[in-house]
Amino acid sequence: MGSLLRSEEMCLAQLFLQAGSAYDCISELGEMGLVEFRDLNPSVTSFQRKFVNEIKRCEEMERILGYLLREIKKADIPLPQGDVNPAAPLPKHVIAIMDQLQRLEVELSEVTRNKEKLQKNLLELIEYTHMLRITRNFVQRSTEHEPLQAQYEEFPFLEKDTMMDYNSMQRLGAKLGFISGLIQRMKIEAFERMLWRVCKGYTILSYSEIDEYLDDPDSGEPTKSVVFLISYWGEQIGQKVKKICDCYHCHLYPYPSNNEERNDVVEGLRTRIQDLHTVLHRTEDYLKQVLNKASESIYTWVIQVKKMKAIYYILNLCSFDVTNKCLIAEVWCPVNDLPTVRRALEDGSRKSGSTVPSFVNRIPCNNTPPTLIRTNKFTSGFQNIVEAYGVGNYREVNPAPFTIITFPFLFAVMFGDLGHGVIMALFAFWMVFYENDHKLKRTRNEIWNTFFEGRYIILMMGLFSIYTGLIYNDCFSKSLNIFGSGWNVSAMYHKVWTDDDIRANRFLTLDPNVTGVFNGPYPLGIDPIWNLASNRLTFLNSYKMKMSVILGIIHMSFGIILSVFNHLHFRKKYNLYFVFLPELLFLLCLFGYLVFMILYKWLAFSAHDSRLAPSILIHFINMFLMQGDAVQPLYPGQAGLQVFLLVIALLSVPVLLLGKPVYLYWLHNGSHRLGMYRGYERVRRSSEEELSLMRANDMEEGSSISDLSTSREHQTEEFDFADELLHQSIHTIEFCLGCVSNTASYLRLWALSLAHAQLSEVLWAMVMRVGLRMDTRLGIMFLVPVFSLFAVLTVSILLVMEGLSAFLHALRLHWVEFQNKFYSGAGIKFCPFSFSLLPSSFEHDGLL
């Protein structure tokens, strides 16, 4: 059973997989996600590994799948994404899948190509129709030509001059040719000018714009075109004109010589266009059919190919043994999961029908194993925010279980508003309630995913904020009077104030020493009368600052106490006396005493002697200056106690600085003399192997090896001492200076809660009050949009902005002020080989 306090015990194991059943065994392990494979061939490039051909095949299949997915997405066909989880296909089934995919690809590309050709054809025919329609107008404008044309039809012998695709007409010895077509509207001016310059008047160009946008056959985009008709004399001119038309990318179409031909062509075109439309429709239907059929099984194929590729990748990491019949894999495995791994290997061997079973064998290791902490859906959020700073060392104390309570609490101290807490908690409840909804889980939006992953954190934050909102008595910047205020104004009026007082002064002070004015403290939280007081901030500032310091010292002391668990687990008892004790004494003697003074002042002084209440700051400063007689003591014996605490704190600094290095030095040197004595026995008795086994055994339990290394060279100890002394002096300076700065850092709890309260008050005063104070008939309606504005601003400024800010500061307090007392966070995270954790490249491209 995994515990959240410490990472799991890991072991290095060797898997012996028979060549026939290796694929199935790894498939089983991938489904379960228990072990992390190590690379046994680190020097081999990916092209030289054993299974590179299989991986190439997988990538080819992935390419085809990507093409299919793009086509399906273009055709807007929905993919039936169920919760299917097909197993990795056996090598013999792979050929069938590959076959199907290739056939689909060929078919699809052919159909798409045909469709494009037909589309282009259709567009060309449509252009031809337009051209004929418009050039009819050119001809009919000059109707006086008609009788002239009739005369010359008796001379047909020049019709064989059709070298190019134009119709020539005879006219008085000169050969009249026509070129007609379409050109883009942008180019017509330049075209005309070019024609004039080149042909010098031997051509006549008439053109007219088409009104509607036609789709260009080459690019498929709607463009504005112009129909032109060029009539020219002479062959050379004709060739020049044709070249110019080519330059300007005109679409040329044959020009009919007479009206009957024109009508025939128009009729022919109309039927052809209709036919093309029908064929195109059929093609599109067929394409949709093919894609629909493919979309049914494409999701399964994607998963199967992904799993197959992963298995071959893992197989590449393994090495072959000498007989070449068996694959050896080295894995990191949690000790508690070894039986499960064994069972998975048995299942795999059975499925592949192999007679020789694969087995697992635990081996000792010298490296530090990776860190695995098992979490559920509630704890995973908090574990993630701890690991964002650094993954813990192997078997180190994990701050996450404590973070579950302290993080929302510190957030709530900075956020502290009942109404906002309720809204935040409701939002989190909604997310938690619908956490199994597919649509919520699978959105692509990064920001939403972040909020969704942290839904339990937000829920805790909201609930704790409700609590601190009750304590601060702040609900949308108004106080709630649940229990009845402890202050009574009328008592002042009867006893102290007169009518003149009330008329003459803007502000009056309630004196709690007068009987009847103060009837006892409010049962829970701050008295609601403070909401009406002008010196509200003075009172709250003092309260919140002192509270922040108290919370900070408690948090930091807790961090130091947690380091005891680390010292005990790693069998470094000397750390308890030389590190933990001086640190705790330093912190508590100085800042713990400050906390004591705060609490003492709160308890010992009341409203009666509030004039005599001393300033704690002055007393604290005097403690360091050792001037105990300068001011009235808080309690008898204060001067003596302060000197005593100061001396202890100052003495603990050199103990922290020098204690551990000196002790380790003494340990090495002192037992070196004894070690020489024992060394003879060792040489006689055992070999190096037994020594190394004993050392490995001890390393498993984390004890120090200082006493075993004495039989080796002792130059290293000199080196160790300097290094150790440097390390410890850095730690001492960091700790002592850090105590002061970290304590001050906790004042951000006060600062942010003040900022939140003030923002909330400003929002109410500037938005809601305007709506409420409206007097006219219209004012009633005005309240409705004003409230919407208030709601939107509350959510965007106070919940989102302030919430993120308080989240960040609470996180910083944990990462720096709390964790630097005990956490090193320099470990490696355990990444098991699991199919469910593998990313899919298609999801990344947004195709799935």
Binding site: N481, M768, R773, G779, L783, V784, F787, A791
Partner: protein, 100 residues
């Protein structure tokens, strides 16, 4: 389908703000009716009201009640807005089912 004016997100926003508005304005109305002292700044009290009062503090109480009524009316309007948003959500859902 001609009544489908808002998209799904606008309708959801509408219903969330409406529910919040109904609850919060109703509670505000109750607090104004009980003449809560904390809300004194939100009531338009002039010098004339305070000094020229025949029967103190009834004028101020009357102003409080008026604001309370305003809040209740606004809450009522938000009920209508909420109903409208709810209908829009229903129409959006139906449209989503129809297309496929």
């Amino acid at each position: 389908m001609a009544f489908l004016i808002c998209g799904p997100k606008v309708a959801t926003c509408g219903i969330v703000i409406s529910i919040w508005g109904v609850i919060m304005l109703a509670m505000l109305g109750i607090f104004f009716r009980t003449h809560s002292a904390v809300l004194i700044e939100d009531v338009r009290v002039t010098e004339a009201d305070m000094h020229g009062d025949q029967n103190p503090p009834q004028t101020v109480y009357g102003l409080y009640n008026q604001v309370g009524y305003n809040c209740f009316i606004a809450a009522g309007i938000y009920v209508l807005v909420g109903a409208f948003s709810f209908c829009q959500i229903k129409l959006n859902n139906r449209k989503e089912y129809l297309v496929h």
